[in-house]
């Protein structure tokens, strides 16, 4: 009896993985066929580098001194994976508004396949964007100064965070009434999280109430983890903020918690969305 249950569970798991692979493949083909979206998601980070690195950056002074652009780049890497969740939310909402979801729901596929496929494909499609950003960073003088191993670790951490946040994008896409609604709903938290943080400026100079938010903002922890691993840390770390004292652990725990909470909700929500 238990043996049969085990066999069935194994078959289910294999079916689920296969379905997730098929869905990812489909979304990747779709992604490649949207050159305008690819162009946009590559261009925006480049604009950010120019805008913040030079337009605003020229008049930003870091409290501890040092090169602003090498302070900025880890922040922009985090921004780019954070903003990826906007694309995910809009894409999921678009899927849900099209007839294709009905087609998938009448197929004998694992309930998780479509949402897992969507999040995995956006992870893959985000990689070229990150590569472009790295090249931009290198071009404006940013360098990973603590060895290649740590730099790779930093990017893995950013991708882990981006993948987890992507699930919040999936959730918003499933709950929103349509693609435009999804875009608006997801943009508010991503903008606030992105800007009220240590991505662009040192929160030490912010008003007290905002400074507390910026310090405890998980995005600040992610960026700080990146700066540490790249050896880019500039400015004295604030005291008493646990998440900034242990930025790597914070990022990993945060990503895992988001996924543990969001993935089951997304799968349930997807399979029950019109029933």
């Amino acid at each position: 009896m238990t043996a049969r249950v085990a066999v069935q569970a194994e078959r289910q798991l294999r079916g689920g993985l296969l379905d997730a692979y098929t869905a990812t493949r489909r979304f990747l083909i779709r992604g490649m066929r949207q050159p305008d979206v690819i162009f946009g998601s590559v261009l925006i980070p480049v604009i950010f580098v120019v805008l913040f690195g030079y337009v605003f950056g020229s008049s930003i002074r870091l409290p501890g001194g040092g090169n602003y652009r090498s302070y900025l780049m880890p922040g922009l890497f985090a921004m780019s994976v954070l903003f990826n969740s906007n694309n995910v939310a809009v894409a999921v909402a678009t899927d849900m508004s099209e007839g294709v979801v009905d087609r998938f729901r009448t197929l004998p596929i694992a309930r998780s396949a479509i949402v897992v496929g969507r999040s995995l494909s956006s992870l893959v499609l985000g990689i070229p964007v990150l590569v472009v950003m790295i090249l931009c960073g290198l071009a404006v003088g940013w360098r990973p100064e603590d060895g290649l191993g740590n730099a790779v670790l930093a990017f893995l951490l950013f991708e882990l965070f981006g993948y987890a946040i992507g699930w919040l994008g999936v959730l918003v896409g499933l709950l929103a009434g349509g693609p435009q609604a999804a875009d608006v709903i997801i943009s508010i938290p991503t903008f606030l999280l992105g800007f009220i943080s240590s991505v662009f400026v040192d929160p030490a100079l912010m008003p007290a109430w905002l400074r507390v938010i910026a310090y405890w903002n998980p995005v600040s922890a992610v960026v700080t983890a990146g700066r540490q691993l790249f050896g880019n840390t500039i400015g004295p770390p604030p005291s008493g903020v646990w998440s900034l004292d242990h930025p790597i652990a914070t990022t990993i725990v945060l990503a895992v918690v988001i996924m543990i909470v969001a993935i089951p909700i997304c799968v349930r929500r997807y399979s029950h969305s019109t029933r």
């Binding site: 083909i29 007839g99 009905d102 087609r103 009448t106």
Partner: protein, 322 residues
Amino acid sequence: MTEPAISARHLARSFGPTKALVDVSLDVVPGSVCALLGRNGAGKTTTVRILTTLLAADAGHAQVAGFDVHDQANEVRARIGVTGQTATMDELLNGAENLETIGRFCHLGAATSRRRARELLEQFDLVDATKLLVKQYSGGMRRRLDLAASLIHGPEILFLDEPTTGLDPVSRAEMWTSIRTLVAGGTTVLLTTQYLDEADRLADTIVVVDRGLVVAEGTPEQLKASIGRPFVRVTLPDVDPATLEKVRRLLGEEAEVSGRSVSAPAPQGLTTLEEVVGQLRELGVPVHEVGLEHPSLDEVFSAVTDHSQHAVAPAASTAGAA
């Protein structure tokens, strides 16, 4: 007799205050074609969505291929094909990629999915469009691809929700041909339609739904017998009493003259029309137009509600009809 391929009992479903389905029961014999006939909003699509596991019923239950649509949804899904009203193919994928994706989701494996995709594209005359993205397809091609996608895993039962709505006459005829081919291969089909002639051409049994209720069911012949026959109408170029009288006599004693046209029952439909055309030619009278006229769907509804005592097997739920 074998178990029905589709069996629904007292299905009901509301959306907020709107009662989409009040009480729908139906049985479909394996290998037959059942048409669910009704106006927009009659409950056709809601019925199909419940039977295809997309929607839960508020009340009642249904079995498809012997499995409960609610409790054994995945068993049902493995045995059905569904083509909805809206196109469900990915616009950014080409025909072959779309079919392959569906095949892989049905766990046919990569090689079999590719082979089945190729076969279906041939079967549905879409080979030339293999590499064309679906967004460049015409309406008729999209419907054919959708139908092809429903067939990739060789389903026992096929659900077609208004398969020809919005298609031009040529694409419509092509769709009918495709459906007939499938039926010849033994697939059970449940289709919904607003068109009486479509139900007539394709279905073995017709279930008429109105306001969420089954108001009549039977074979097309039974149904038509209950609502009156088609008639042939001959229209002359102008009002010429002598010629009108000649035509009236030709069309038999039930013929009626009105204006410059004469109409008479056409019990054999097209055959009667052909006979009449031949006879008119022999008679040598000038004719403006000759045509066959069918009772409209509206007439079907008024007929099944007005003459329910001699309607075909009036459904038990008729009592509740408005």
